[in-house]
């Protein structure tokens, strides 16, 4: 990094001459320029830049270290200890006991299975519906350029963002209301009295979550579709392609990289973060039928008050999160090239 190269040509010329202070002794700008060029050799300046970068990032890094890195490290330690605050305030070394419990526990196996099913189904629904709406909406936006047309598409866009803007807690309450066996409109319309969250708990939770996160997929897909050159559509239309063929052979292949990254991101996100919706609607029940992994960790901590078990579960969750995060990065990289 040559310092002079980064300057506007006129200034750089002066600077290289090294005679700034001589030719214009009075002006402030020139004194500063002189200071920069005489005092900091290229290497020193580069080091100063690096230090500046580190300095700027330092507060955030310290914060993340104190409340994320250090807790995770202490978690690792805790996972090898027996610690049940209710029984005893003392922790004792437990070796691999917590992990042995984890590997053998039906509760854990069930929880992992429930989380996998939840993730796969929820993401699949979001992707299909989100993509369909995005493609149709994009078509409309491109074709309707009149004032009422734009009003319509703007209004639709505003409506579709609503679930995303709704706090998960409120969304969960809405779905509880909607699917209530006594006063829910769904049962009333179907003339049934199914207690959806009790009889079909996992499916109900999946629907509620897919509703909440569908806008995320929709708007990412929408942007991807709109970024396709209109000429490509004209060519397809001149070739006599119908709507479906246009989507199948033109739109979809072109946005496939975005589709893949979005689906991967949503899957990782759903797998690691699903909590609020399940907690408010079923609480993990009936029994443990919808006890997704984050909820299992939480219940082990605060309901069963077994911090040792909870720590082992949390360590597994973090390892899985990290692996998923790394593979997500790999997918991003692969799809952007």
């Amino acid at each position: 990094m040559n310092a002079a190269r980064k300057l506007p040509p006129s200034l750089a010329g002066e600077g290289r001459g090294g005679a700034v202070t001589v030719s214009h002794p009075g002006s402030r700008r020139d004194r500063v320029l002189a200071r920069i060029f005489h005092r900091s050799l290229p290497q020193g300046r580069a080091r100063a830049r690096r230090l500046t970068g580190l300095g700027l990032a330092l507060p955030a890094l310290i914060f993340v270290f104190a409340f994320m890195v250090y807790p995770v490290a202490s978690l690792l330690l805790l996972s090898f200890q027996e610690y049940s605050p209710l029984r005893s305030a003392v922790t004792s070394f437990a070796g691999l006991a917590n992990y042995v419990w984890l590997v053998g526990s039906d509760l854990v196996h069930q929880s992992i299975w429930v989380t996998v099913v939840f993730t796969a189904a929820s993401v699949a629904i979001e992707m299909v519906i989100g993509l369909a709406i995005a493609v149709l909406l994009a078509k409309l936006v491109v074709e309707l350029r009149s004032r009422p047309g734009r009003l319509l598409t703007g209004l639709l866009g505003g409506v579709f963002i609503l679930p995303f803007a709704t706090p998960a807690v409120a969304g969960a309450i809405a779905w509880k209301t909607l699917l209530h066996p006594q006063f829910g409109p769904v049962d009333a319309l179907l003339h049934t009295d199914i207690a959806w969250f009790a009889q079909f708990p996992l499916a109900s939770v999946i629907v509620a979550d897919a509703w909440k996160m569908m806008p995320f997929v929709l708007f990412l897909m929408f942007a991807a579709v709109l970024s396709i050159e209109p000429e490509q559509y004209e060519a397809a239309r001149l070739d006599g392609a119908n709507g479906w063929q246009e989507f199948r052979y033109l739109t979809f292949p072109l946005i496939l990289p975005v589709v893949a990254v979005t689906a991967a991101f949503r899957a990782v996100d759903a797998f690691t973060k699903i909590f609020d919706t399940v907690f408010v609607t079923t609480g993990g029940g009936p029994a443990t039928d919808t006890q997704v992994f984050p909820l299992l960790i939480w219940r082990t901590t605060f309901d069963y008050l077994n911090f040792g078990h909870a720590s082992a579960l949390a360590v597994v969750a973090i390892i899985v999160s990290a692996l998923l995060g790394v593979s997500l990065l790999a997918i991003r990289r692969a799809s952007s090239t």
Binding site: T177, F183, F219, I297
Partner: protein, 286 residues
């Protein structure tokens, strides 16, 4: 415009068919919009009924809308305090995220240092961490610091999970600020911090709005940390306050519905007003 008009007129044969197709698309989209809106709309309409009406006539129209459910939020369920707590938490998260995240994103964008790429990748991976996993050790730390049952513990927990996301979203905004302007600022005698404050922040303002909005929503909607770190009403925000309406033996449906609408309104209004920024955040944040 004229180019577009000409290109359209070159396809006269598909005109009429497209009209019907377009109508079909509009119909499908409106149906989808109604379905999307329905859960919240239903919640809103039901929240205006009395508890007796909610149970008696599920599908009946709204005869005599009443605000009793909303009044009960404040009379029975400490919603005045909870609202203040939620506001305080959200503002706390915004301040920490935007200050620390802004500085760090700027540092990563403008002054890369040895290992900064690795740190950035690490930060992206921490975004994938299961929040519930962090609750266990954070609970013990907050306990040791005497911060349980205070808003500070909640703010710190939400902020630390939000910060990597903020850095990730904000960095591209700083990348687009032209170097020359900042170089000029440096030459005019500003320190790097001065350049950040006077030049870069202003030019990256849309990014700041985006992360401030998303940080606010993160603070406003979080349930996990309040539920884990507090048991006193003094430090209970709206999210966990709402859940006190569904106790083991009774669910206060009317209040629960009103509370659901109440907690949604701020994020809803902000999201509509700042829709552009929200969508930008979605696109950059993943």
């Amino acid at each position: 415009m004229s180019v577009l008009a000409r290109s359209m007129s070159s396809l006269p044969r598909s005109r009429g068919r497209l009209g019907w197709g377009r109508l079909g698309i509009v119909a499908v989209l409106i149906a989808a919009a109604v379905a999307t809106l329905a859960p919240f709309l239903w919640l809103f309409v039901s929240s205006l009924k009395t508890e007796a009406d909610i149970f008696a006539k599920p599908l009946s129209a709204l005869h005599a809308p009443t605000l009793t459910n909303y009044a009960s939020l404040f009379q029975q369920f400490h919603f005045a305090v909870a609202t203040l707590n939620s506001v305080a938490i959200s503002i706390g998260v915004v301040v920490i995220s935007v200050t620390l995240g802004g500085l760090a994103a700027y540092g990563f964008s403008r002054y890369p240092f040895a290992g900064s790429r690795l740190l950035l990748t690490g930060l992206l991976i921490t975004r994938m961490i299961t929040p519930a996993a962090l609750v266990v050790p954070l609970y013990l730390i907050m306990n040791a610091l005497g911060l349980l049952n205070s808003l500070i513990s909640i703010i710190l927990g939400i902020a630390v999970l939000n910060l990597p996301f903020v850095i990730w979203v904000l960095r591209p905004f700083f990348d687009t600020v032209p170097h020359e302007i900042e170089e000029a600022g440096l030459i005019d005698g500003l320190s790097p911090l001065g350049v950040f404050w006077r030049i870069a922040l202003r030019l990256a303002a849309p990014g700041l709005v985006t992360v401030a909005l998303l940080s606010f929503i993160a603070g406003w909607t979080d349930l996990l940390f309040p539920m884990s770190f507090t048991t006193t009403p003094d430090a209970t925000p709206l999210t966990s306050g709402l859940l006190q309406m569904q106790t083991g033996y009774k669910i206060y449906w009317g209040s629960l519905m009103a509370g659901g609408v109440y907690i949604t309104l701020p994020t809803l209004i902000l999201s509509f007003a700042l829709q552009k920024y929200l969508i930008q955040g979605m696109r950059l944040g993943y």
